[in-house]
Amino acid sequence: MSGLEPANSSANLAAGEAQRRLHWRCRRGMLELDLLLQGFLDGGYARLDERRRAGFVELLEYPDQMLLEYLLGRMEPVDPVIADVVAEIRRSAHS
């Protein structure tokens, strides 16, 4: 996290803010979602390309119940990028 490093540039600062903002938005109304989303943000998220990162941000806007359906594999998102991100999160869940 950039919060641990000297804030030596505005780019660093902005990246740190963005990460913290995502961290908070991964806090949801259900433990299942907390574990999956926060776990992924701390792990697999860094390895995503720009398009999938944007997909992850978009996914966080979904209602909790829909997220649960997707992330537990009960439904599949239509949008291929979101579907990719969901698959990544599910893969990272028990790694």
Partner: protein, 592 residues
Amino acid sequence: MSSIRKGLAKRKFDALVIGAGGGGLRAALQLARAEANVAVVSKVFPTRSHTVAAQGGINAALANVLPDNWHWHMYDTVKGSDFLGDQDAIEYMCRAAGHIVVELEHIGVPFSRLDNGKIYQRPFGGQSQNFGGEQAARTCAAADRTGHALLHSLYQQNIRAKTHFFDEFFAIDLVKDDDGYVLGALVLEIETGEPLLIEAKTTLLATGGVGQIYRTNTNARINTGDGMGMALRAGIPLEDMEFFQFHPTGIAGKGMLITEGARGEGGYLVNKDGERFMERYAPNAKDLASRDVVSRAIYEEVRDGRGCGPNADYVFLKLDHLGSDVIKKRLPGIRDTIMTFLGIDPIESPVPVYPTVHYTMGGIPTNRYGQVVVPLAQSPEEPIPGLYAVGECACVSVHGANRLGGNSLLDIVVFGRAAGNHIIEFLKENRYHRPMHQAGVDQAMARLTRWEQKGDGDTVDGLRRDMQTTMEKYCGVFRTEELLKEGVAKIIEIQNRLPDVRLRDHSKVFNTARIEALELENLIEVSVATVCSALARQESRGAHSRIDYPDRDDEHWMKHTLFFREGRRLDYKPVRTKPLTVESFPPKKRVY
């Protein structure tokens, strides 16, 4: 501090609601519809409150499926509470239930239907006809997403009624004046890191439960007892905090619940030797024994070195013998959860489980109007002017020592509405804001500035982990004098370490580390209240189960605990055994 104070932003409202779950939103809706100027503060986006996780449903004696009436519902709730519930509040809730469900339907909750068009009702544990007779069917549900539907409907209605939302704002502390009036709260905008003073003629706490004081729990991570911590710091006691509902089979190390249905279908528990150990603890009921018996058995197996896994800290729930068809047909949701989180298929492998904390029965003491009540000179229940609480953070007390399934959603909606109505009356009598009390603001501000200290010290994560494991070990399902005494000492030690905790990140914008530090303070306040209350109660009642005092002791302990922060003092007040209009249900042995 004074420089911050000078520039402190302020807003004024008639009513401030802290927490945007079902309880807070139902109260806010009542107020906004009455044209009160109402603000709702929520640390997360409102529809991400924990109400969304309530899947079961909401109880109301509609008699759509089987004969029923509110009086039977009342009996079940009193009995379920192990006679610690207040019978006036329980009567009020059960009588209001039918009306409340119809009202929810009218604001958009899509309840599941019967073929004749009436609302479908399913049977749940603890429901009976005719005061303990045949099974009743009392739970109304919107498929398996009742909480979600309820929360979204209430949120949309609030938007329509022009409730003002402060999304992603964290409440720091209540502000009180010297006369004991609550004047509003100091809150923090997470986005900017700036404090905001919200002045209000009335403040309602609706911040939910506090399952996060335990390592293994089913609660969302937002359930950190913020309202309870604020109440304690404002000199208000917490009631009956020793009563936490445990569920025997949570996924080990994660917390999510595996329903009793899994054992109902024939699943059973084994230790590291493959032994079906429940045969030793409950020779007749075995794996279907009551929740507390199964929970304690798991604890004892692990304690005595018969746990499974590399750290021997869980037991296995075996389902693989049931066969693929049964699991896929009857337990599909459980299978999804297990496969997602553990990467194993219960059709092939046993599932690691451990008791998990599910629900907080205790909380901020209130009467049935939602007014926060404390013992003062005149009576044990005098209202704090301007302060209300509803839902899981409150103790009204309808759940007493144990909550029935389907009664938590009912509780939040019934008393959210009741509090809204009482606030409307209060506002008629109190038309002007009282003068702000600067010392109260300064005190709240100090809580914030404390986290600006720099240097080395314990971390928030580290201390929270220690607190959670301590609570699980010393104040979990297995409680004895010796263990609880040790627990009190250890939790106080953890509390004493709190001033040495330092943040590594002192940035302002979206500093979530700071929020987590403020949450940790609340969690530790509540942990102390819980373990002290549990040590003092020398009986077993409902969810509080003492090995050294295995029986309920109505003569000495049919009373509510009150824990005060100052001096960690305990006090007690009588159970309200007199209902509003019907005869009282006297205590008797609780047998199902």
